[in-house]
Symmetry: C2
Subunit: 187 residues, 2 copies
DNA sequence: CGATCCAAGCTAATAGAATTAGCTTTGCAG
DNA sequence: CTGCAAAGCTAATTCTATTAGCTTGGATCG
């Protein structure tokens, strides 16, 4: 019998793909094993447990999200950068809804890599807001406000909580513009 | 052996309390049964399945949230009402984090009562924004923006995603004020 | 080229959860 | 008092995660 040639990274990647297809809550070792062409207990050669795997998927997603955001703001500043970052944020979340759920829903504080990846996301947001002249608590407030607005919108969108069919792109744009204007006026 | 005197409503209430204590994802029939002083299979006399129970908890939470918001805005209007509604929203979410998670994370569209409760929440938000002179798509955008901002903030807060210890109350107030100002300027 | 050894994969076994079937008994209605 | 529907139970089934321990592929080193 030929080997499957798995690796920890491949298992995490399959788990992430499964999450995107069936939802973060529906990740199961049984489904991942089937997808990898391997029996369930074999996965334990590459991961420590289901919880540990979830943390790895969460970490992967946070890193991808940070990268997507950083790429989007490259060479931009001010409102331009905020709009680009917001578009990249939503784009990632809609393209990878399962992973995205894992960026928030996963347990926090037990995994060094996850903490660093979460910090990287925060760093990109803060750097993007650097041009607004905010310092200290004001900068913290602004970063939280932007992150909250973006997360709240895409989370509700992914979970079909916007009943009406009215143009969602437009709603998102106006929300981002509103937050941008608010931060600009905080001096 | 005396009867436990359960009812569907009591089971839902226990499940909601359990969710608040241990998290929406950790609801289990085993734990609920123990809490009710009953063996696990006995629960099936009152509920159809774990999934059905989650929908009931979600519905309960949406109703409670709608009521809390409606009470908060009673007799108020404009920015006053928006601030009161925002405080009530966050207050409910922090007091009942498990239930609150269920208001968004639960499967949607299969349960009439849940749909109605979700509509009730939306109705309170729309009524609160009535004084801003927004109509049609503008009103929809505003309701979505407010809901997204509130949800995003409290969801991140509940999940400990705000690393820093900086004053969270203040951050929330500024976010709400920012959204309020943005909506006021949309005319 | 062949002996060796580690890691990848397997089977088997355990434990816990949800669900279903079917039995027993409580406690109210008549 | 009698009977019956509902509430609770035990037993059995299925599915998942996890652990233990065996087998073997295949790279490494002589």
């Amino acid at each position: 019998m030929p080997r499957a040639g798995l690796s920890p990274a491949k298992v995490v990647e399959e788990a992430a793909a499964l999450a995107d297809e069936t939802g973060w809550d529906n990740i199961s070792l049984a489904a991942i094993a089937a997808r990898c062409g391997v029996k369930l207990p074999s996965l334990y050669k590459h991961i420590a447990s289901l919880e540990a795997l979830r943390l790895e998927v969460s970490t992967l997603a946070l890193r991808e999200l940070a990268t997507a955001m950083a790429d989007a703001v490259l060479g931009k500043s001010g409102s331009d950068a905020v709009l680009a970052l917001s578009a990249a944020y939503r784009g990632y979340a809609l393209a990878h809804p399962g992973r995205y759920a894992g960026t928030v829903a996963a347990p926090t504080g037990e995994h060094q890599g996850q903490l660093e990846a979460a910090a990287a996301v925060l760093r990109v947001v803060e750097a993007t807001l650097a041009g607004y002249g905010l310092t200290g608590d004001d900068a913290v407030d602004a970063a939280r406000a932007l992150r909250a607005a973006l997360h709240g919108f895409v989370h509700l969108e992914i979970n079909d909580a916007f009943g009406l069919p009215a143009d969602i792109d437009r709603s998102y744009r106006r929300l981002v513009e509103g937050i941008d204007a608010a931060m600009a006026s905080w001096v």
